[in-house]
């Protein structure tokens, strides 16, 4: 195994595993598709990274964070659904950014670039992936209660604004990291598919979280190894692996 392959496997497992765990919260809020527009906004940032030769996630991150903070403020101000605000903020961001950026340079950002990941980027993925995992784990009950009924959460003393911010920042980090693994077009799949597969076979919340994380990590390992063996890009193979896992779980669906 080459050092590059090892680094991409480590990065992939941390990014995909924590993305899938976060995905269980997003799926419960019917927000799994939100990572899609977020990934699209990451594209101009990723293009900048390609033009100036730095890491894709690093380029994507500020764009996604600014967008996320805008959504957070607008949600408090307008009381519109987060998914509607996401569509507004990110479509506007993409449209504005694409006027000025050399989009032809962004092609590599569409399907990810994990095979070229370096040591520092791997360390960053491990730290940020773990951070997201811990943040989600510590605030899981609170965010789940907000997902079920916001007023109920408020009267139970939960600071809804704070937890919404933690939740959105976790999404921002995962989307930025996800751009490196599967590209800006497919970040939604990192959160949505393993969580949907886990939901098919879970009876309890614990099973839901654990299985989703495992499906995400397994998809990254299988996808990256198949990429090394076949020469196809890793991003699409990671997503196709998780789609295959989803297909296997469909007959066991409990609903």
């Amino acid at each position: 195994m080459t050092p590059h392959l090892l680094l991409s496997l480590i990065s992939g497992v941390f990014i995909a595993g924590s993305a899938a765990y976060l995905g269980t919260l997003m799926l419960s809020r019917k927000m799994a598709v939100v990572a899609g527009p977020l990934g699209h906004l990451a594209l101009p940032g990723a293009a900048l990274a390609l033009v100036y030769g730095f890491n894709l996630s690093l380029g994507a991150f500020p764009f996604v964070v600014v967008g996320i903070l805008l959504i957070w403020r607008l949600e408090i101000r307008t009381k519109l659904q987060m998914e509607a605000l996401t569509a507004i903020v990110f479509a506007t961001g993409v449209a504005a950014a694409f006027l000025f950026l050399p989009i032809n340079k962004a092609e590599a950002a569409l399907v990810g670039d994990i095979s070229k990941v370096g040591l520092y980027a791997t360390i960053a993925s491990v730290i940020l992936g773990s951070l997201v995992f811990l943040a989600v784990n510590r605030s899981y009950s609170e965010i789940m209660l907000i997902n079920i009924q916001e007023d109920l959460a408020k009267t139970e003393g939960i600071n809804v604004r704070l937890y919404n911010l933690i939740y959105l920042l976790a999404i921002a980090i995962i989307v930025a990291l996800g751009v490196d693994l599967v590209g800006g077009l497919m970040t939604a799949a990192l959160v949505a598919i393993p969580a949907a597969a886990a939901k098919n076979v879970s009876k309890t919340l614990r099973q839901f979280g654990v299985l989703s994380g495992m499906f995400g990590a397994a998809s990254a390992i299988v996808g990256i190894l198949s990429s090394a063996a076949t020469g196809f890009p890793a991003g699409p193979l990671v997503i196709l692996t998780s789609a295959a896992i989803f297909a296997i779980t469909v007959p066991a669906s409990r609903v």
Binding site: S141, M144, Q149, D151, L152, K203, T204, L205, R206
Partner: protein, 235 residues
Amino acid sequence: MGKILLEVKNLSVTLGGTPVLSELSFSVEEGEILTILGPNGSGKTVLLKALLGLLPFTGEVNWHKKPRIGYLPQGLNQMSVRDMPLTVEDFFALKKLKRDQVLRYLPLVGLESGVLNKRAGYLSGGEFQRMLVAWVLASRPEVLFLDEPTTAIDVVGGETIYSLLKNIWREQNLTMFVVTHDLNIVYAHSTHVLCLSRFAHTCYGIPKEVLTPEVLNDMYATDVKFYTHPGTLSQ
């Protein structure tokens, strides 16, 4: 009955530029069951939310002490959890309750321990509502806010819920705020009633005294056929 718990003075709420409640004043004593009665759109839920601090208002809402509050919101029905892999035990764990703590509250609402392993979305309507009551009670509230607690269940199931709540009210000396548009509930289960109408005519007091045919006709803007409930309330 006892000390004044809550005083509301000149409470007004405006939503989206439309006044929903205006200049409402009343007070609630500890141990009351106050039913908030009124037709759809009269602002019952809005009043509850304003008292809970969930909506902006003008006027005064003075709690004489800071009670532990339990709230059963109207929108919390089984559809909210229908497709989630969420067992009854998981649902209680969302408020950091351990299994043995939960087991103390299930018998209060007539549920058995076996229900803990069932998915919340697959309970019957009545079981789900009783689970919610147990969930709210598990925080040991001193004041309960119940917004249409029997909407999703049939008449018999609804009567069971109210009987359960009244038993708990007797045993634990709770103060309860109940929103309903069901007149029978007012007569059978309330110590006091606050009526709201879309024309800002309000009444407040003991149900048998204040709910005259004129008040009801005014509130519902139609002829209401009613009879006085023979049962009397005793604590």
